[in-house]
């Protein structure tokens, strides 16, 4: 009797900040996106990289592996960025439009927790979908590099010695499934995470999904040219006019630098990126997420719903 009374009596002590609530919102967001059948995109992705694989067999293996990597990383980056922007833009304005937000915010949920939960849900979706894509990508790459090795051995006119096979293997595999590709995958995720944070910020003051998407996309594209604007700002030699410099500097300050996250372009050309640089890229992403969450909260905390 007493036991039951204790069970039904719900603690009214309110927690100012609760990771569990954020997690509940994040999981809900993730579930929502999954049930919107976003993962059907995997079919398109598979078709793309398998298509890339079948189409370009006639080239040198180096080219063939490069095209496979290009198409995979390109599609990955594209899907991740689209998910980040469109996913975020769909969720928060939709919650407001449908007034679902009323039912959430009239529970003891601080608004910052709602924002963090949504962002985390999107990040979760990004992580899972990028993981799935890279898994498929790596599998195809693995199969392909072994296929190329077999073809190469078979096409060799003479009997091949073990040493020679080892040489071929080294030559082919060094352009195939290498651990550095994981850094590329990480960079794709980091870039999408920043894009999601931007979209989150935009959606806190935008009045519609479409507006959020358009503004976020504009930020995304200008963000890729941000470093060019800064180059212009810091340019030595012939000085641009003060107004031009001010404008260039403004672009540099306002827009995030998305170009910095394009590690995959170099990786596919066989370049290496240091671990310390990647670590700083992670740190920079965390900084962006913090700043955008903060300003999103400032706007959203006082928003009239």
């Amino acid at each position: 009797m007493n036991q039951e009374a204790q069970d039904t009596a719900i603690s009214r002590r309110h927690k100012v900040f609760s990771a569990l609530r954020i997690w509940a919102i994040a999981r809900n967001t993730f579930t929502q996106l999954v049930r919107m059948k976003v993962f059907y995109f995997m079919l398109i992705f598979s078709a793309l990289i398998i298509g890339a694989n079948l189409l370009f067999l006639s080239f040198t293996f180096e080219q063939e592996l490069k095209i496979l990597k290009d198409v995979s990383f390109g599609a990955m980056s594209l899907f991740a960025s689209i998910f980040a922007i469109v996913g975020t833009a769909l969720l928060i304005p939709k919650d407001i439009e449908d007034r679902t937000l009323y039912t959430i915010l009239t529970k003891p949920v601080p608004r910052i927790e709602y924002l963090l939960g949504k962002l985390m849900g999107i990040l979760l979706l990004l992580a899972v979908s990028i993981l799935l894509m890279s898994l498929l990508f790596f599998t195809v790459l693995y199969i392909r590099q072994h296929g190329i090795l077999t073809e190469k051995i078979a096409s060799f006119p003479r009997q091949v010695s073990d040493a020679q096979i080892a040489l071929f293997r080294e030559d082919i595999f060094s352009r195939g499934l290498q651990p550095e590709l994981l850094l590329g995958v990480l960079a794709v995720f980091l870039k999408a995470a920043v894009a999601a944070a931007v979209a989150l910020f935009v959606s806190t003051f935008a009045s519609s999904t479409l507006f959020t998407i358009i503004v976020s996309l504009v930020v995304y594209f200008i963000g890729h040219a941000q470093s060019l604007a800064l180059d212009y700002y810091f340019a030595e030699g012939e000085m641009p006019s003060a107004a031009q410099r001010f404008f260039a500097g403004l672009i540099g300050v306002v827009f995030p630098n998305f170009q910095l996250f394009n590690v995959t372009d170099g990786l596919t050309a066989g370049e290496v990126v240091s671990a310390s640089l990647m670590a700083r890229l992670v740190g920079l992403t965390a900084f962006y997420l913090t700043i955008y969450s903060l300003v999103s909260w400032l706007i959203f905390a006082k928003k009239e719903l």
Binding site: E62, K66, D70, V71, Q259, F261, V295
Partner: protein, 373 residues
């Protein structure tokens, strides 16, 4: 009147702190980002900033894509287009597309190499066919003397531009040497570039050997050529057929010159001195063989050369062929050749095998004992 008021209202609310935070964050991150950017550049990344030249050649969409993290993919697409142009033998288009591809990912060696190959081999080869088809008319002359060399030069130019991005890539140096060797027949230039290539850290040993080989064709560089080839013979641990042939040719040259420039006494004194080298002996042998026609003495001295510890194996073949000139020694010469064929086939030449077969039938060697080809 109303609008400034409205703007003031806007900023006095929550937007003022937001703008402040964004600005402060911008000032905090920009130095870090610039720093990271230069480090990326130092590591060879972010190698591409859309210089006007390539922007001119890119369509708008490709340009945006190149900026938007799809540079590698765009490069691949241009590569495919270049390949299509190659199939259509549209060489101007090939050149343009190869330029775009290579400038999109200039750190990717393969794009430069393909460009060189398309110019100096594919286009060049195509125009050689055209020149032959035209025969001796003006067009044929024009193609052969103007168009074809242009494409070779284009190939070399591509390689040199690639070297600006990849200064340590031996392959681009080597491909220039290849063009001078295979397409222009310029052993001096070819040797020069092979030597440059061979100095790069991961150049395989055959690049230096190619340098040694080219040197043997350079007029007036015989000494250098001999020094390099001899050094390779002694120290490289890998004696290839080319090296042997080159060395044989070079030593024959030296020996022949010595035999024609020195007197018998001088030659004899040098050959019979304590610790005389095999070259001195071979010089004397050549003199005996060709000037004084003293076959037995020649056989004698060549016998010494053949067993000299420093002498390359081709002197044993030489000995056998000198002995063949003496009808009495045919049997022994045959045995020597046969032993060489079995133990050291690299020191023989293709036509030597036929010679052995001829000897076998002349000497009436039973079928079972004959050398199997």
């Amino acid at each position: 009147m109303n609008i400034p008021h409205r703007i003031a209202l806007f900023f006095s609310g929550r937007w003022l702190p937001v703008c402040l935070i964004l600005a402060v964050a911008g000032f905090l991150r920009i130095p870090v980002e610039r720093d990271m950017e230069t480090e990326f550049k130092d590591q060879g990344f972010r190698d591409w900033s859309p210089g006007l030249s390539s922007r001119d050649q890119l369509t708008q969409a490709a340009f945006v894509g190149a900026l938007g993290g799809f540079r590698s993919l765009v490069a691949s697409v241009y590569h495919l287009k270049a390949h299509n142009a190659f199939v259509k033998k549209n060489w101007g288009e090939v050149e343009r597309l190869r330029t775009v591809t290579a400038s999109l990912q200039p750190k990717f060696w393969s794009y430069w190499d393909l460009a060189v190959w398309d110019m100096a081999w594919n286009a060049f080869g195509y125009y050689r066919g055209e020149a032959e088809r035209h025969g001796d008319d003006f067009e044929g002359w024009r193609i052969e003397n103007i168009v074809m060399p242009t494409y070779l030069q284009k190939g070399i130019d591509f390689a040199k531009r690639g070297l600006e991005w990849l200064p340590d890539d031996y392959r681009l140096l080597k491909v220039i040497a290849d063009i001078y060797d295979q397409k222009m027949g310029n052993p001096e230039k070819s040797a020069e570039w092979y030597l440059k290539a061979s100095r790069k850290p991961d150049a395989p040993s055959y690049v230096y050997r190619a340098y040694a080989h080219q040197l043997t064709f350079c007029q007036g560089m015989e000494e250098e050529a001999y020094r390099v080839n001899k050094d390779l013979y002694r120290n490289s641990g890998e004696i290839t057929l080319t090296l042997l042939r080159d060395l044989e040719r070079l030593e024959e040259d030296i020996v022949r010159r010595a035999a024609s420039n020195m007197s018998y006494e001088e030659l004899r004194a040098a050959a019979l001195a304590e610790g005389a080298g095999y070259l001195e002996m071979a010089s004397l042998g050549t003199y005996l063989l060709e000037v004084s026609k003293d076959l037995p003495a020649a056989i004698d001295i060549y016998g010494k050369v053949a067993v000299h510890p420093g002498a390359p194996s081709f002197y044993r073949r030489k000995l056998a062929f000198v002995m063949l000139k003496d009808p009495k020694q045919t049997g022994r010469a045959y045995q020597m050749l046969k032993a060489l064929a079995l133990r050291d086939p690299a020191s023989l030449r293709r036509e030597d095998i036929k010679e052995i077969a001829r000897l076998e039938s002349r000497l009436g060697i039973p079928k079972a004992e004959r050398l199997k080809p």
